[in-house]
């Protein structure tokens, strides 16, 4: 699905929704509700992903090969087996890393300009 010549940097900058979902899945495979909860936790409740945004973004990320559906199904006694689980692909991990480095560079630039001192 991913061109052999493609570089993670080609996809940057990612939209916030994409990066948040990549981060949420970095800790392991999750279903839609799990992802939205993880994003909620990661952002301290600042970002709450609705069904439209979440599944629209997931659809594009699947097409771009950033994530994939997991074949593993939970024990029906523990979870609804109709849920779909998603996990990061290796390509998705590379892209997430590249985005994190890009953001890190921006934060360092902000630090160098003493924009974070107020904190």
């Amino acid at each position: 699905m991913v061109s052999q010549n493609a570089r993670p940097e080609d996809l940057l900058p990612l939209t916030p929704a994409v990066f948040h979902i990549l981060l949420a899945l970095a800790g392991g495979e999750k279903h839609g509700y799990g992802i939205s909860q993880e994003v909620d936790d990661l952002t301290g409740g600042q970002i709450k992903m609705g069904p439209g945004t979440l599944y629209g973004t997931i659809k594009r990320m699947l097409a771009a090969g950033l994530i994939e559906e997991s074949d593993n199904r939970p024990d029906p006694a523990l979870d609804d087996e109709r849920r779909r689980y998603y996990r990061l692909t290796e390509w998705g991990r590379l892209v997430a890393g590249a985005e994190a480095r890009r953001l890190d560079g921006l934060v360092r630039a902000a630090q160098a300009r003493r924009m974070l001192e107020a904190d």
Partner: protein, 385 residues
């Protein structure tokens, strides 16, 4: 909770049908989970709706915009197949085949016409009833042509087998009148395609190439000692080729939106067109070989290849090979059958004539696939998300 769920389910109609089908149940599930959480606090549901309404409206608008622009990274080529839609289009073809090889199943001149009308009406009603949203997305012409072609295929295959119906009346000048009617139908189809195609520059350029090929072939045939086709035959040949070209282009383009079923349908329609154009001349075993090539390949082998392969390049190469085998095979079969004890010149003429329309159609298919490849992003090419 139930009222909220019903309202949310109603909101999902804002999304395109494909998206609703693929993600609607998942979105409903997520809504139920979020709504359950929200009810834990007094103003939770109100806050949730305040977030959800713009979320749904904006994301539905985004999905529809992407669909219009064809920007979505082409799930149609990722191997996902709507098997129901595919079956709906393959079943009539299989019925036609069954009728062909077991003509005793039904007898009577009116029955094939009735069946063709039923197929056409059934396809039309399915489209109107919204049971097959993809049908609407293709535009009426592609689906309409397929329905027409399948119905016509049925009539044309039935008639020579039973020696009844219009085919039994095919003596000069009736044949000429029929060809003239075909040409008129081709020109009307062409005009419809031209008027409905948003970006018609590339197809028109290709049409010029195909017409030039047709003209060149006609001139070659006309200036050989062989029995040259008269002018209405050449015109008819051009009409068929150009129609085939536009069907191929529109079908390949519609694949962007509608996925593999669109291509399967268009291939079947093209196959039917080729077959009914070719089998005029043949009877007996020769007819059977022609029908095997002309019906089984586009209706069974081609779609099977599409369903079994996922990589676009493999698909494209396979389609070109399959269609080359079919088109040129149909052109060469009479020559192989009749080459001994000596070359039969009228038969050789038939071979050249068959190749004369086969080559432009194959070139049209190839160019249409090239147009598609150039205009549509492939899944191998990643795009920003």
């Amino acid at each position: 909770m139930r009222r909220a769920e019903r309202f949310f389910r109603a909101l999902l109609w804002l999304y395109p049908a494909d998206h609703r089908r693929d993600y609607g149940p998942l979105m409903e599930q997520l809504f139920r989970d979020q709504y359950r959480d929200a009810r834990r606090c007094r103003l939770g549901p109100a806050r949730l709706w305040l977030r959800l309404l713009p979320d749904v409206v904006l994301s539905a608008w985004t999905e529809r915009r992407d669909l219009r622009r064809g920007k979505l990274m082409n799930p149609s080529l990722s191997g996902r197949v709507d098997k129901f839609t595919t079956l709906v289009f393959l079943v009539p073809a299989l019925v036609a085949l069954l009728l062909l090889f077991d003509p005793d199943v039904l007898r009577g001149e009116l029955i094939p016409y009735g069946l063709a009308a039923l197929i056409g009406a059934g396809g039309y009603l399915l489209g109107r009833a919204g049971k097959m949203p993809r049908l609407r997305l293709w535009g009426g012409y592609a689906a309409g042509f397929l329905i027409f072609a399948l119905g016509f295929l049925l009539i044309n295959i039935w008639s020579p087998t039973m020696n009844t119906g219009i085919r039994a009346l095919q003596r000069e000048p009736v044949v000429g009148i029929r060809h003239a009617l075909h040409l008129a139908a081709c020109l009307i189809t062409l005009a419809v395609f031209y008027l409905t195609a948003r970006r018609s520059i590339a197809p028109l350029r290709i049409a010029l190439v195909v017409l030039a090929l047709n003209l060149g072939l006609w001139i070659v045939l006309h200036n050989t000692p062989l029995d040259a086709p008269i002018i209405w035959s050449a015109a008819s040949m051009a009409g068929y080729s150009v129609t085939a070209l536009f069907i191929a282009i529109m079908g390949v383009r519609s694949m962007r939106r509608s996925g593999l079923p669109a291509l399967v349908a268009v291939m079947a329609g093209l196959g039917a067109l080729v077959t009914l154009f070719t089998i005029d001349e043949y009877r007996g075993a020769e007819l059977t070989i022609m029908i095997l090539l002309g019906v089984f390949v586009p209706l069974i082998v081609g779609p099977a290849w599409l369903l079994l392969t996922e990589n676009w390049r493999v698909r494209k190469a396979g389609l070109l090979v399959i269609w080359a085998l079919m088109l040129f095979g149909m052109g060469l079969v009479p020559f192989l059958i009749y080459r001994s004890p000596g070359v039969d010149l009228p038969r050789l003429d038939t071979v050249l004539y068959n190749l004369g329309y086969a080559l432009p159609i194959w070139v049209a298919l190839w160019l249409a696939l090239e147009v598609y490849e150039r205009e549509a992003p492939q899944p191998e090419v990643t795009a920003p998300v």
